[in-house]
């Protein structure tokens, strides 16, 4: 993961403070790839619009995956789209994050049993950071998922994990 690969063997106060700063920068400026799939995308647009205002969290849409930090998989992932999602994800520069939004992208949703054309969960092709349940989730639920993701980024570390 680029910078995060270079782990320090032991932490000290300088590294701790630096990584706090870097984590803070990463979590407060998550540029989103403007990418929507199905009905959840409508809720995602509503989240970007005036009432919920994604921009408050520093999330702005970027058209190019090269400049995006986060991809919100919003809707039914068909098998055909899955390859494209994988490609888009691979085109994004590290560090990159994924929010899986809605039942369909979490596990196939209503199509989990009989949907011959639906990928049963987007985590089968790309690693998901946060799952937001809902069909579709309310905009607040997506915002809560984003806050959860920010919490996750806040606890990322350059140091080697001592677990």
């Amino acid at each position: 993961m680029g910078l995060l690969d270079r782990e320090f063997s032991d932490g000290n106060i300088v590294i701790a403070k630096t990584e706090d700063l870097l984590n803070w920068a990463r979590l407060s400026s998550l540029w989103q790839l403007s990418f929507g799939l199905a009905c959840c995308a409508i809720e995602m647009m509503a989240t970007s619009a005036s009432h919920y205002d994604f921009d408050r969290f520093g999330v702005i849409p970027r058209p190019s995956p090269r400049q995006a930090d986060i991809i919100i998989i919003s809707g039914t992932v068909t098998l055909k789209m899955a390859t494209r999602i994988k490609r888009l994800y691979e085109q994004m520069p590290d560090p990159k994050y994924i929010i899986s939004m809605g039942s369909c992208s979490n596990c196939g949703g209503p199509y989990w049993e009989h949907g011959y054309h639906v990928l049963k969960g987007v985590d089968r092709v790309i690693p998901v950071d946060v799952y937001v349940p809902g069909c579709p989730p309310r905009p607040e639920a997506l915002l809560e998922g984003l806050i959860k993701l920010q919490e996750k980024i806040r606890h990322e570390t350059l140091r080697k994990k001592t677990a």
Partner: protein, 191 residues
């Protein structure tokens, strides 16, 4: 020529009209709901996360059958005659141990169809919508109040009970058969 000048004028004028609108909106107070600090009250019948009140559940499996996406999984074990399961709040007597009541909330599509057939109204949709998770497994909700060991025990108990019952039955049947045998010669003679 006249049209050309008219086009020019309209081009400039319409842009100015548009700019007036946006300028007005610059000073309109914003409508944003600052989510984590301020939350919009939900409508009374909002359908969000499912919840099962296990105290009232009789394990009838009707919700699982109503679910269009099959996200509810219920397993039940019949209670022994000696077990007292109590009654539900609307006075129904419970007769089944619910050993497994899993709802895969990731699959749920919030249609609410499971809530209608429930005879005790123990499964219902709450207004909780903030439950995103880091792991998908965490989205499978186990509502069963029994621990796996307890469930296992209940199952064993029931099997034992059934086995005993079967044994008793078999014994009874054997006894009956034996008695029938002793009685038989007389009967057959009649024929």
């Amino acid at each position: 020529m006249k049209e050309y000048l008219k086009n020019t004028w309209e081009g400039i004028w319409t842009v100015l009209v548009g700019m007036k609108v946006t300028l007005k909106h610059l000073f309109v107070p914003s409508v944003t709901i600052q989510y984590p600090d301020v939350k919009l009250p939900l409508p009374e019948r909002a359908r969000n996360r499912l919840y099962v009140n296990m105290d009232d559940c009789i394990g009838c499996d009707q919700c699982a059958r109503a679910c269009p996406v099959d996200c509810i999984e219920i397993e039940t074990v019949k209670a022994l005659p000696t077990d007292d399961l109590g009654v539900t709040s609307n006075g129904k007597k419970k007769a089944l141990w619910v050993t497994k009541f899993d709802i895969d909330i990731a699959k749920c599509c919030y249609c609410g169809l499971c809530t209608y057939p429930c005879p005790t109204e123990c499964i219902y949709m709450t207004d909780v919508y903030e439950f995103s998770e880091y792991k998908r497994e965490d989205l499978i909700y186990n509502f069963s109040v029994l621990t796996p060991q307890e469930a296992e025990e209940k199952k064993k108990n029931y099997e034992k009970f059934m086995a005993e019952k079967a044994a008793a039955k078999a014994k009874a049947a054997a006894a009956k058969a034996a008695q029938a045998k002793t009685d038989n010669p007389n009967n057959s003679d009649k024929k």
